[in-house]
Symmetry: C2
Subunit: 386 residues, 2 copies
Amino acid sequence: MQNFTLYTPTKVIFGKGQIAQLRNEIHPDARILLLYGGGSIKNNGVLSQVHAALKGYSVEEFSGIEPNPAYETLIKAVEYIREHDINYLLAVGGGSVIDGTKFVAAAVNYPGEDLWEILATGGANITSALPFSCVLTLPATGSETNNISVVSRLKTHDKQHFASPFIYPKVAILDPEVTYSLPPRQTANGVVDAFVHTLEQYLTYPADAKVQDRYAESLLLTLLEEGPKVLKAPENYDARANVMWAATQALNGLIGAGVPQDWATHMLAHQLTAFHNLDHAQTLAIILPHLLQEKRDTKHAKLLQYAERIWNFTEGTEEQRINQAIHATREFFESLGVKTHFSDYQLDGSSIPGMLQKLEQQGLVALGEHQDITLEISKRIYEASI
Amino acid sequence: MQNFTLYTPTKVIFGKGQIAQLRNEIHPDARILLLYGGGSIKNNGVLSQVHAALKGYSVEEFSGIEPNPAYETLIKAVEYIREHDINYLLAVGGGSVIDGTKFVAAAVNYPGEDLWEILATGGANITSALPFSCVLTLPATGSETNNISVVSRLKTHDKQHFASPFIYPKVAILDPEVTYSLPPRQTANGVVDAFVHTLEQYLTYPADAKVQDRYAESLLLTLLEEGPKVLKAPENYDARANVMWAATQALNGLIGAGVPQDWATHMLAHQLTAFHNLDHAQTLAIILPHLLQEKRDTKHAKLLQYAERIWNFTEGTEEQRINQAIHATREFFESLGVKTHFSDYQLDGSSIPGMLQKLEQQGLVALGEHQDITLEISKRIYEASI
């Protein structure tokens, strides 16, 4: 096992009717800015529940944070806060709204003039942030209990992340019932996103970390079982709860503590969103299977473990079992309606040179748990994904 | 899945050589009282490592906290702190030292005169505590990242627990190398303790909490595999690391979040320690198998799941598989050298009436996940354990 530090200070309040708990968690004198995306939280009653919980509080609203939150939108929120008397943020939405709120929280008092610098430096210069909490409406990214944020800049095709110890949510409210009304596409995306997050912390090389391996397998098995259920029966409470909890656990630091990690799938996928505005999960579903094929030698032992413990593939040669496992992973994504090739999204690969250039600009030229995914290999992965 | 709140704010710093990190985590102006037990941390070099990390800090020492920490000892530490200029506590030891330090941290500013009231009221009236961190030397109780403390009062045969949001350690340093020198009895006790903690959050009734069930099974399988290894090869780093991490995970709130729990084994076992000063793990090993036999009807479904997923018992009738699983659990404890009957410890059961009286005095008359373990059933469990 590798050395690690694990810090998960966000208080999770999970279950039916728990939005009402906001009242017990936020000081009555807080001057709150509620950040959200489009109108879905108005239609499904979540916004009303939040306002009911915070009756008597000072609550203003900032809406319009888009999927893959745009820098251009977020700096408007920063300006609004600087001009108004706001000292607490409340994100109500999915990973994009929470990621956007993290950026806003860190940017309000950021010492530099150019706020994109927060992304460009990975968050290294952040020294404080506004306190904030979140009400999660879409289980997927794990942003609700971690300190990572991904922001896109539309005009330059940039999609980058930053991290900071100052941007953990204080409280995360997770009520599975608010996910009943999610469109199937977003539900499926969430399952794929969490599944890929888990694999990126699991499919590397063995580190004799038995708890972490089995925890990762716990999440994979749960997503495999419950993902199809929530698509078939959107109001199955326990299935929704299991998916929601698995997605949170997939990226709160726990399963990746003490083991090698490989975030190359994310790095390559981010470029696809930046260039073509695909859903985050769609880009992961495209890249992952081809990356696993490309790195099947260095990931050999863990791919075999994955094949056996998750898919029960124990017959045939080792290479056959690995093929089966990669194939089954792809089939799982497709079965949820998330396609796994460029061509499924009417893309022909002509943006590959531009995406490779972005990878190079961002210094992403030695990715993976062995830092051996060069630009040349990234090119092969993109090309195989067409 | 049941509603839950999960709050795990302790920062875990895990791995070789990590005691040196104390310097980065404690403010240089802190006036520290270092609390520990006997001399083992002197002999194995841990105390030297702590002093080296805190060179230049104000560090005083309070030693002599015993296994099953005694109220009588701890109030001496409280008095010492009140008379000296101390504002930070550092527990260096196992669960007993950490539990004792939690009590001391909460007691120093406790508003009441009678400090036993903290235990008698379960911690309800605590409004603050001194900040403290810990260096764990014995993986077992999980105290290093939770907010629970168990304290014994020798003269009255009391062993009780309290909990409070104010007594989470700030930082927990977990270096598996410091456990190399543990005597086999303590190593084995730690494995049994963590195994039983896990079962007390797992062997109840199904709540369709798939992540939690599989996480619990992850810990059980890890302890089954790694427990015998650390006894055979005390300096096997990865095995020590896996046991250490499993023991922490077994009682930090995670696997019990959203599922029913049954702490009756602990409650019955505490009386055995209070009356006979047995090791905590010994008392758990005595009580658990008989409690499972007694409650095999209400625990039926989870006992079958346990039999299959942990022990691979899938043949025979359901009752046979449950018998096999309970038998295998007992055999596992015995194989580690932890005996499972009163008579193994030269006890004849004559203290049972006294222990039942204590349970009654402490209001522990309706235990278990269904509150159906009455005094009469506790009596049967004790008697079957002779």
